[in-house]
Assembly symmetry: C2
Homo-oligomer: 354 residues x 2
């Protein structure tokens, strides 16, 4: 059995849970490398993946003996087969953060489980600490993102639309080895930058524009996430103060990152500094990055969590002046014992495009 | 209040439900045109959208007076505000097919609702019947898909990879007015076509290849979905029988479509004809198409549903010979009183690329 499945079995054992239904495709991929619709059952006897006709061939070719997973085709299964999997289990875990209420009721009945219990994101929590291969993939995704940024600041010209720029970012990623985008690219120019989650529009870039670029790619299933705020022709005076404040705080936070640093304290530090200048941090400060672009840990002043070695996090403070402009600066970094390693290395001082 | 919100209120009234928490972003978009994270509450007094700092500006500019929706910013809300929304409601509905088990428990506590009840997909069921604007958008998406197909069969050349072809489909859609893809494009060549949900690989197109193209775009938020199976240089003899069988059945099905036609009976007809030649229909025959590329109604021989005027459905029979090849043919059609209107009109006889 592979190391991650073994870990899960040990963990369930410790929690006195006798079986588990794993439903989230990311959890299934993490545990088995299977990339298909279906359900993974951790039963007393074996690890079972139940899928349907569309995926059987694919799944059978992607599994290795080492995984220790038996594959079943739904078409050949009877009502009793489902009922037998957990027959001697007192409690069976499920993923309450993924499974809908409807599905929960369905599973309870299908597998005849009396005590289907919440597992409090055990798999997501395990994913927080990255192994060497995962770090390698995220690093590669971040390198591609830096390269894409170098390319895109030379590509942007006055009169281009936000959409054109977003399309070029996507084209660049795909042609340079990425699986695809990690999330929908944000290109927010001028007053659009004041909306933290602006969608990409047909607005054309004009002189004096702030251009907020929030983008990332996937490499081997792992994400990158970076934001830069750049300027067309010149840096407007009124933006400078805000830009400097955001940048100083982003860098101060990164300086403090290391194993056992307290997320709440560090985030409060930024909130307080913003408040001195009468600005608010209106979104979370950041998040973990891995198979998902937003995953645990969430960086906010509401949760009292510690950073741990080999977490990968994105740090993205921003300030938004409604109807006018916004500034956000974001890097993806790897937490180490005594500090951190920046996985993005693009310039953060004023970048003026002409 | 807009017509869709009024419909929902009447419907809830008829079900003796006094309020509802609408969580699915598609439901929220359908009911209010709001395209942002947040929750829509149908309370006794008013319709409320609760969102956070990131979206306030956007939401306020997209709503009209006619919508009758009041927007609140989570940051300014207290515990008591949440508890007051449903204070005089005996039962409050929620979307059990969207809300996770974890979120269900959280909402129950946050809004202090004793009886949070399932609403059995009322909004999705309403979305099944399309209005004129929706039909116009889907039609436009289908026209773009036909045009993209004409383009792509001239574009494909021997030696190209599946990825190149998929990227070109995406580029074409985006440059010709689509919002983006309706789903991840499938380009499955040679033996890859035998996996109904093959991902796109770096396999290169070779003479004699079957090339299965399953693709669609979004236009104004509405989807198209089409599949064609084409041939590189020649149609292999062993594929012809399968192709003809799939095509004949797809066309026979479409001929029988009209208001009140029985989905189960029509699907059984195809399954039976396939079985005569010892093939199985290993996936659903089709599905509704609208804001989602897969939505209600699902076409299968297991459900005894009737087709209704102004449903839009995709019909996609397929046969797959493991490790060898697969054939699938799919069109998106509009159900009418006495028949149907094909929204895709690309050629379905053998298409040979050279």
């Amino acid at each position: 059995m592979n190391i991650r499945l073994r870990w899960l079995r040990d963990k369930l054992n410790a929690l006195n849970i006798q079986g588990m239904i794993v439903s989230n495709p990311l959890s299934i991929k993490y545990l088995t490398n299977i990339d298909a619709e279906g359900e993974l059952l951790i039963t007393r006897k074996e690890n079972v993946f139940i899928t349907d006709g569309r995926y059987i061939e694919e799944v059978n070719t992607s599994l290795t003996i080492d995984d220790g997973v038996v594959v079943y085709d739904r078409r050949n299964m009877m009502k009793e087969d489902y009922e037998n999997y957990f027959i001697f289990c007192e409690t069976v875990g499920f993923e309450e953060g993924y499974v809908t209420f409807e599905k929960y009721k369905y599973m309870k009945q299908l597998y005849r489980v009396n005590d289907l219990v919440e597992t409090e994101h055990i798999i997501e929590k395990q994913r927080v600490i990255k192994d060497d291969d995962e770090i390698k993939n995220i690093k590669k995704a971040c390198e591609l993102t830096d390269k894409c940024f170098s390319h895109i600041i030379r590509y942007i010209k006055k009169g281009m639309t936000e959409k054109q720029i977003a399309n070029e970012i996507e084209r660049y990623f795909k042609q340079n080895g990425a699986d695809g985008l990690a999330f929908d690219t944000i290109v927010a120019s001028g007053e659009n930058s004041s909306k933290p989650h602006s969608s990409v529009t047909n607005r054309r870039i004009m002189p004096g524009d702030v251009i907020l670029l929030d983008f990332g790619c996937k490499y081997n299933g792992y994400c990158s996430d970076m934001t830069r705020t750049v300027f067309m022709n010149k840096v407007p005076e009124r933006v400078k103060q805000v830009y400097d404040l955001v940048l100083r705080n982003q860098e101060n936070f990164i300086k403090e990152v290391k194993e056992n640093a307290n997320i709440k304290t560090l985030t409060k530090m930024i909130e307080n500094d913003f408040r001195i200048y009468e600005y608010d941090l209106i979104h979370a400060l950041g998040h973990g990055v891995g198979m998902e672009v937003h995953e645990l840990p969430f960086l906010s002043s509401k949760k009292d969590n510690m950073l741990k070695e080999n977490m990968v996090i994105a740090v993205e403070p921003g300030i938004y002046i409604p109807g006018k402009f916004g500034v956000r600066i974001e890097d993806t970094i790897l937490v180490t014992k005594n500090g951190c390693i920046k996985l993005n290395n693009s310039e953060k001082n004023y970048i003026i495009i002409s």
